[in-house]
Each structure stands twice: as C-alpha cells, then as structure tokens.
Symmetry: C2
Subunit: 103 residues, 2 copies
DNA sequence: TTGACTGATCAAGATTGTTTGATACATTTC
DNA sequence: GAAATGTATCAAACAATCTTGATCAGTCAA
C-alpha cells in the first residue's frame, strides 16, 4: 500500500512538538530560517534537521534568496492530509450495523 | 504548550503503516481483536501493542464482552484532529503579505 | 581575496519506538 | 476444579529518530 506509506510519513512529520511549533510560525506566511532560530530557541543544526523532515514529507517548501532560505507551508499537502483523515471516518463498503461475532 | 503535546501524540499514532491498516479495518464498525490478527497477518502481542498505542492517543476505544475485546474508532477525536489540521492553515493574527527580511 | 555570515550536513551519542517470544490474567467450558 | 481460549504485559533485541557539536559550501561585502 503505497498510500499508507505516504500518509504515515506525513503524519510522522507532525508527530513532534518542535515541528508543530515550526509550522505554527509559518502560518502567517513564509519565514526566513534566521527568523526562526531565535523565537523557537533552538540550535541552528537542529532546526535544519526538523525543517528537512517537514520538507521531505512535502509539508513545507523552501525558497533560496541570496544567502537566506525562506520556508513556507505547502497548503496542497495539508489539504491532502485533511482528505486522508476524512477518509478514515468513512465506511469502506456498506455500513455494517453489527460487528462480526467471535464464537 | 499542552495542546502541542496532545496533538503530536495523536499524529504519532497515525505515523505508522500498521496502525493505519488497523484503523482502516475499523472504518466499517467495531471489530474483535480475534478478527484482526488474521487479516492483518500479525502476531497477537504486536497487534495488542499497536491497539494500545492507538487507544492511548484516544483514537480508538475498547469494549470488553466476555473474553473478547472489541475495538472501534473514536470519531470525536478524529474530528478534533481535523480541526487541529485545519487550524495549521489559518493565519495566527492578520495576514502578512510580505515576509520579514533578514538584513 | 579575505573574512564574516547563513544554512546544510555529518558523525557520535542519547532517546524513543517497534518486534519477538514468553508469561500472566481473566473468562468460559468441561 | 482443570483445561482451553482470548488478550494484555513484560523483558530483551533491534531499529529508527532526535540532539549535539563540528565542519563544510555558498554568498556577500570590504
């Protein structure tokens, strides 16, 4: 199941407080790495590691400008995750009212 | 941030292919553990471990009946996760059109 | 060209998560 | 009661992920 692999990688990217805080910072728009280390109070190499994790999952994009790098949310992927999550709630075939019994 | 801790634990529960497959099996309604080991092709103790992970995150509930245990999705928590995911897309304050410059 | 600065990468260690097999516990059946 | 069954838990092995500090590559300005 290729889909499950993709989905689990995306959810894994959100399964970390540090990365959720990074995303929270990006909600207002794109942000330079240099403007993230301070507010998030973390070392540059650690921030870089988490940004890469989010980028590999497709949740954020990067844009290089001179010696700075700006990161921003990828709304398309966030929307796809919403769709995935919605799908988990819907029955696969017909709705089954009674669970199969063990004997 | 208590919310971030909670959210990351929930996303972590979905950050695993095996657990996504378990959830997929529960989409049609509650299911007995004994009806999961076979289709998922996994050892009982491993299944039990993953069910616990999902239950600790609040994503599934269990119901004991005799010597069987039935698991089912907790739609309330899935809805809360949808809300969390939606929130990540919305700006925190006012929309900022231009990213802060580094100098 | 040199020096300063931004950000990525790497290796090593620390932490956390997953898998396995064995065992324990509760419930049912005989 | 004893045996059988369904499920949870435990310890140990293994695997993946996170954190740290050091170093490297690219860019800019003097």
């Amino acid at each position: 199941m290729k889909t499950a692999e993709n989905a689990s990688r995306r959810f894994h990217a959100l399964a970390d407080e540090t990365r959720l805080k990074i995303i929270d910072r990006l909600r207002d728009g794109e942000e330079c790495v240099c403007n993230l280390t301070g507010p998030l109070g973390m070392r540059q190499s650690l921030l870089s590691f988490h940004l890469r994790t989010l980028k590999d999952a497709g949740i954020i994009r990067d844009r290089k400008e001179g010696r700075w790098v700006y990161y921003s949310l990828n709304f398309d992927v966030l929307d796809e995750m919403l769709t995935t999550l919605e799908a988990l709630k819907k029955p696969r075939k017909g709705l089954r009212l009674i669970a199969p019994r063990c004997e």
